[in-house]
Structures are given as structure tokens and as C-alpha cells.
């Protein structure tokens, strides 16, 4: 369907819903690179004005990629909850924004609505929302998941401890884990990005995490972030896999570039559940996403990068993940150029994920060729904390020495807890207190020399050796 809008003396036309969505997107490098962005500032707003009048039912009726051509489209349409959709089925996108922001739309209403919201609806309404709208609406969504602790309770924020090492040296990884735990981080997951995808090395890291978590009875979960096919083989071989990780995208072709299909994710999800390693819950999948991945793989079908990203959340949703996060600034300035674009994308991704019912975290990050610095990340982090982000990353000193980018640090997590009064996952917080790391209010105690974690990590370079 074609759309148009008259603004003053100018008439703007948009030949398809896809082009309307692209032109209505707040400006960003990736959409300009793809040649689909609005050319002028006025065209951008004209597209928003036209989009505000589009009925949600019309978005549902016009798949951006044909049903026959794309398994993500099939998933979106086949799992759409028509009954849950009824209360909003007659709304336009503009009315949907107002509905989301109204006082009557509370956590319970939003939870019931989540299965009715397709990624295209989430993306469309997102384009009409200012940053403050994205913060307020996301803040109302409550998504709780559990494996060995409970993540996403109101007033809490979790942290993934990311102890990467350039060559996967066990002693080095253990040193970063000990450092992170002493700083009170690690309730979301202790998750290692391995330097290689060699199964023997992954196996060693899985055993390291399992031994570590068991030795100290830490109420958290481990994950080695390798390809899902590697994890499948390792689960079949009886390896101790808590969470299955995979990077996912919003089109079948993007996922093909990652070497995955929905069937593979289903197989891995079933295998992870059958291991029954969770103690307080059974959410066992961990997904990462990020705007620009579809364009980077030349798999975007002319769809703007924020809408492609929201479609990735539709891929995650049927697997009831424990954790989903956008790695927002990792991909580089040709997709998100500067701090402003990264901030906007972070709030969009968090909002769309939460609206669709996902336990949404964000890797607040940037690379050295992006126009961004630590001050930008402080603002992104604070805005996400205000929006109720489920979890963030914890990297020693914010400097990931394996992946070569800057994320948030253990100190950043402390900052945001202080500034916003956010607690950790309750089971983990209790453990920290029992280990003498925090006081009853959750604040770090002055570290005692000779703490058990440090002694063990120091002697013989860690507990596994």
C-alpha cells in the first residue's frame, strides 16, 4: 500500500509500508548507508505524520518480507495472538503510542498485550516516540525470568560478568571472574566470549565455569558464547551447559549468515531444557542482537535497521530466553555514528524488547572509530537504568581485551545502583552478603585481604588447576 502526506505545500509519498517505516526512523548512519533514510528533516517528520495514521491491523496485514520467502515472517504471523490483539486492533500507530503512555496501561495490561505486539508494530510506534516516551513505557513493562536466580524483579538490575581473555587463558579468566564477583557482579550470567570456537577449548571453559559456580555455590549461571551448533554437540557429549547462546537477526537471510535456522534454535532450546540444570526457573536461552546486522549481511530486504532489530526479538520470543541483549554500539559508526545515535538505538531496542515480553538487557558499548566516549556511555547507561533495563555488562575497567571494544564496567554497575537505588537478583545478593562481599543493604564492604575468592584464584592460578 502507498502512503502520502502533505506538509505545507509539499506532498511526500511513500510507495510501501517498508519505505514509510524507513523514512520515519530517527536519522542514523546505517539507514543512510542503505540508501533508505529520509533525505530531508521535513521528509522524516512527514513520514512520522503519515505513520501515525496507519492502523495496527494494516501493519499486520502487510508483511515486510513475503510469508513464503522468510521463516521469520512466518514465525511472526503464525504466533500472533489474535485474542490478545483485540483491545488494540482498531488503533492507529499514533493512538497506540498514547495508549502505551496512559496511566491505565500498567504492567499487567502490558504483559497480556505482549503476544499481540508484532515487531513491526513495536518498531512503528517506537518511531513516533521520543526518548522519554521510550523510557517511561519500557519502565512499566515487567519481565521476570529465572534459572538459578530471579532476574527482572522491580527495583533490580542484573549484570553479566564478562571475563574475556585474548587467548582464553584459564588463570586470566579466573582473575577477572574473581575481580567481578568482589565487585558484586555476575547475577545475570558469568558469560565468556571465547577467542576461538574450538570445541575442546569451549569444553574446558564450560568445566571451568561449572566448577567455579559449584565450588562457591553461587546462585547464578554460566555460559560460553560460542555458536549454537558447537553447544549442541557439547550438550550431546554431556558437557555442563547452563545457557545456550546464539547471536540472532531479524530475517531468515541474516540468520543464515550466522549459520542458524529456527529449527536449530528449537533443537538447542529443547536440549537445554532437557538438562534441567536450573534450580529456580527453566529459562535457558541467551540471545544477542544488534542494529545493523541485517544490513551488514546484505540481508535487510530494504527494511530499516531498527525494524530488522525488532524482528530479531520475534526470533527470540518463542524460546523463553533467560536473557536477551542488544550489543548496541559494537557494530561501528557506519551503522550508529555517534553517542546520540547509540543512545537512541539503545532506548529503542530496550523498549521494543520489553514491549514484546523479553527480558531485555543492553550491552552499552562503543568502538574507537565511533564518535563516542565514556561520557556518552554514562548517559546511555543512566537513561537505560531509568527505563528499567534488565541487565547490563560488567567488563573489568570497561575495556574488553579480547573483543577490542568498550562496554560497561563493574564500577559502572556500582554507579547505576547508587544513583537509581537498584538491587541485584535477590538470591545472588544474599550470596554476596554470605561471602562477606556486601553489607545487608547491598553496598560493597571494604575488601578484606585474604578473601577466599582471591586466595583461591591466586593459589595455583585458580580453582580448576
Amino acid at each position: 500500500m502507498a502512503y502520502s502526506k502533505c506538509v505545507g505545500t509539499a506532498r511526500y509519498s511513500f510507495p510501501t509500508l517498508k519505505s514509510l517505516l524507513a523514512k520515519a526512523s530517527p536519522p542514523r548512519a546505517g539507514d543512510r548507508l542503505a540508501g533508505i533514510a529520509a533525505v530531508t528533516a521535513e521528509e522524516n517528520i512527514a513520514a512520522k505524520l503519515a505513520l501515525a495514521d496507519v492502523p495496527l491491523s494494516e501493519i499486520l496485514a502487510q508483511p515486510l518480507i513475503p510469508y513464503e520467502d522468510d521463516e521469520v515472517t512466518r514465525l511472526i504471523l503464525d504466533t500472533h495472538d489474535v485474542r490478545a490483539f483485540a483491545p488494540i486492533s482498531s488503533m492507529t500507530v499514533g493512538e497506540f503510542r498514547e495508549f502505551l503512555l496512559s496511566h491505565d496501561t500498567n504492567a499487567m495490561v502490558l504483559a497480556r498485550l505482549a503476544p499481540a505486539v508484532t515487531p513491526e508494530m513495536a518498531a512503528a510506534v517506537c518511531k513516533l516516540m521520543r526518548n522519554q516516551d521510550l523510557i517511561l513505557a519500557a519502565h512499566k513493562c515487567q519481565v521476570t525470568t529465572a534459572f538459578r536466580n530471579t532476574i527482572g524483579l522491580p527495583g533490580t538490575m542484573a549484570v553479566r560478568l564478562q571475563p574475556n581473555h585474548p587467548t582464553d587463558e584459564v588463570a586470566g579468566i579466573v582473575a577477572s571472574i574473581a575481580d567481578g564477583l568482589m565487585y558484586g557482579c555476575g547475577d545475570a550470567v558469568i558469560g565468556i566470549n571465547p577467542a576461538t570456537d574450538q570445541p575442546a577449548r569451549i569444553e574446558e571453559l564450560l568445566r571451568l565455569l561449572d566448577d567455579f559456580i559449584q565450588r562457591y555455590a553461587i546462585p547464578t549461571q554460566g555460559c560460553v558464547l560460542c555458536h549454537v551448533s558447537t553447544t549442541l554437540d557439547l550438550m550431546a557429549a554431556g558437557m555442563p551447559v547452563d545457557l545456550v547462546f546464539q547471536s540472532i537477526g531479524g530475517t531468515e537471510a541474516t540468520n543464515r549468515s550466522f549459520g542458524i535456522t529456527l529449527a536449530m534454535l528449537r533443537e538447542a532450546s529443547d536440549a537445554a531444557h532437557s538438562l534441567k540444570r536450573g534450580t529456580v526457573g527453566r529459562n535457558a536461552m541467551y540471545f544477542e542482537t544488534g542494529q545493523g546486522s541485517a544490513l551488514s549481511a546484505d540481508a535487510h530486504h530494504g527494511i530499516d535497521q531498527q525494524t530488522c532489530e525488532a524482528r530479531a526479538y520475534a526470533v527470540a520470543r518463542p524460546f523463553d530466553p533467560l536473557l536477551v541483549n542488544s550489543v548496541v554500539g559494537f557494530i561501528g559508526p557506519e551503522y550508529l555514528y555517534n553517542g546520540k545515535e547509540i543512545l537512541r538505538a539503545a532506548l529503542e531496542d530496550h523498549f521494543c524488547g520489553k514491549l514484546m515480553g523479553l527480558p531485555m538487557g543492553v550491552d552499552v558499548c562503543y568502538t574507537n572509530h565511533a564518535e563516542a566516549d565514556q561520557d556518552d556511555m554514562d548517559v546511555v547507561l543512566a537513561a537505560l537504568a531509568a527505563a528499567g533495563v534488565t541487565y547490563i555488562m560488567g567488563v573489568p575497567g570497561a575495556d574488553d581485551v579480547m573483543l577490542g571494544y568498550q562496554s560497561t564496567s563493574f564500577h559502572d554497575a556500582l554507579f547505576v545502583r547508587e544513583a537509581f537505588g537498584l538491587r541485584r537478583a535477590p538470591e545472588f545478593e544474599k550470596w554476596l552478603a554470605s561471602m562477606g562481599i556486601t553489607d545487608p543493604s547491598g553496598r560493597l564492604l571494604t575488601p578484606a585481604a585474604g578473601h577466599r575468592l582471591i586466595e583461591d584464584a591466586t593459589s595455583a592460578a585458580g580453582p580448576t588447576q
Binding site: G172, G332, E334, D373, V401, P447
Partner: protein
């Protein structure tokens, strides 16, 4: 700055380059750590923005007996370069005309030195690598074309240059995306029968070339091995398994 509370586990730092045991004041970093991080980031930023002093580099190459020629990609400034990777992969018209004069079907190897994401890396390592490479080339009796020094270059600019000159192989020496721990790391990409449209799977890469990483001399030895193997097998890429060096670095594609 005395009296800042440090963490009593600094000894763990010997096992990792990660920034651990930084200490804290309340929830925050000690002043020295805030500034130390800022310095590392500033160096990385400067490396990304730095312009390659092509005249100085050409002078050092001349000392080695190497003639060079300047070229520019279609990305006319640094902002465009960062936003439009596609433009960094194509020569501008003036450069195309200039290089046309160097067409030579008998040329075995053309070397393109491009700033990439770190001119600092190229300025510091490119001529050392060339100096170490020359003895291998003369021993193998390979015909070396002009050294092209290009500004705002991506790896695939070599495909355009190589095809225009008609070289059997192009070696692109290019600055890697700077990290906080190293802003001066260079990579070499070798491509057989270069032409626009070649993919990264059709190249071999040697990365992390810098004084404190893979030395330019060691890299030259690896490159010489790859050049001989590529000429013998008439290909580069995933089917030419590099038995002389470790594999690619994680950030390779980001320069592409």
C-alpha cells in the same frame, strides 16, 4: 594521589591484560584510573583521525629503492570514510587516471599502503615490513609494481588498484581499528587476481603487526611464504591454508 583505596588482589593482574583490581572510591574509579583510561582512548581516537604523512613515507620507501604513487579513495574526508565504507573501497577518478599509466600485465605484485583506521600503524610499520620483504622478492625473482600510498582506504581498495594495474597479486598494508591497548597495529591482506567484487574469503590476512605484536620482520617472512604459495596455487583465501602464521584477528572485517 596517595591514600586511594586499592584492591588487595593486584597480584591477579599477572594473568590477564584486563583492567582488574582498579580500586574504588565509593562506587567510582580512582582518579588515576579515570585518566589512564582516558589517555588510552585519546590515543586510539587520534590514531583513527590521524592523516598519513605520505610524503615522509614515500621518502623512506625511496631510500629502499622503491618508487611510489599516491592515490585516494572516493571517500574524500575522514567523516565520509567512517560513514561510507563502500566509498573507501573505490578509487577516485584522478587516481584512476594516474594509476592507468602503471598498467603492466607482467607485474607479479603490487603493494598498496593504506591508512585504514590507523595511519599511526602504517606510518610506524609499513616501511619496516617492505624493507624486510624486498630480499625475499628479489630471491624469488618476482616483479614488483609501484607502491601505491592511499588515503581513506579500505582493504578492498586493493581490488580496484590491482585490477587497474593488472597485477597477479595485491598486498594491502593497512591500519587496523585501534584498540585501547594498541593503537598502532597493522594488517596485511593478500589477494590473488584482484578485481572489484572479491570477498574476504578470497584473501589471506596477517594481523597484529607492530613492535610489541608480530614484528614487521616476522610478518614479512610470513607474507613472503604466502606470496610464493599463492603464485604456485594460483589463489588466495580459505583454500590457501596459512601454515606459517596464526589465523586472523577478530577485528579484521571492521576495516573491510
Amino acid at each position: 594521589m596517595t591514600g586511594t583505596p586499592r584492591d588487595p588482589w593486584a597480584q591477579l593482574g599477572r594473568w590477564t591484560p584486563a583492567r582488574i583490581a582498579l580500586g574504588r572510591v565509593g562506587a567510582s574509579l580512582p582518579t588515576c584510573e579515570v585518566l589512564s583510561f582516558a589517555l588510552a582512548h585519546a590515543r586510539a581516537r587520534d590514531a583513527v583521525q590521524a592523516r598519513l604523512d605520505r610524503e615522509a613515507l614515500a621518502g623512506r620507501l625511496e631510500v629502499l629503492g622503491l618508487a611510489s604513487v599516491e592515490a585516494n579513495s572516493m571517500a574524500s574526508d575522514r567523516v565520509t570514510y567512517l560513514r561510507r565504507p563502500d566509498l573507501g573501497r573505490r578509487l577516485d577518478d584522478a587516481s584512476r587516471d594516474r594509476l592507468d599509466a602503471y598498467r603492466d600485465e607482467d607485474c607479479d605484485l603490487v603493494v598498496l599502503i593504506g591508512d585504514g583506521l590507523s595511519a599511526t600503524a602504517v606510518a610506524g610499520n609499513a616501511d619496516s615490513l617492505m624493507s624486510a620483504l624486498l630480499p625475499y622478492l628479489s630471491k624469488a625473482e618476482l616483479k614488483l609494481g609501484p607502491v601505491v600510498i592511499a588515503q581513506n582506504a579500505r582493504v578492498a581498495l586493493g581490488d580496484d588498484v590491482g585490477a587497474l594495474i593488472g597485477a597477479r597479486l595485491i598486498a594491502v598494508l593497512i591500519g587496523e581499528r585501534p584498540g585501547l591497548s594498541a593503537a598502532d597495529s597493522m594488517s596485511v591482506y593478500l589477494t590473488y587476481a584482484p578485481r572489484p567484487g572479491r570477498t574476504d574469503a578470497e584473501r589471506n590476512c596477517i594481523s597484529n603487526i607492530r613492535a610489541n605484536g608480530l614484528t614487521p620482520e616476522a610478518a614479512a617472512s610470513n607474507l613472503a611464504w604466502l606470496i610464493s604459495a599463492a603464485i604456485e596455487m594460483k589463489l588466495t583465501g580459505v583454500n590457501l591454508k596459512d601454515r606459517s602464521v596464526a589465523g586472523r584477528s577478530k577485528s579484521d572485517h571492521l576495516v573491510g
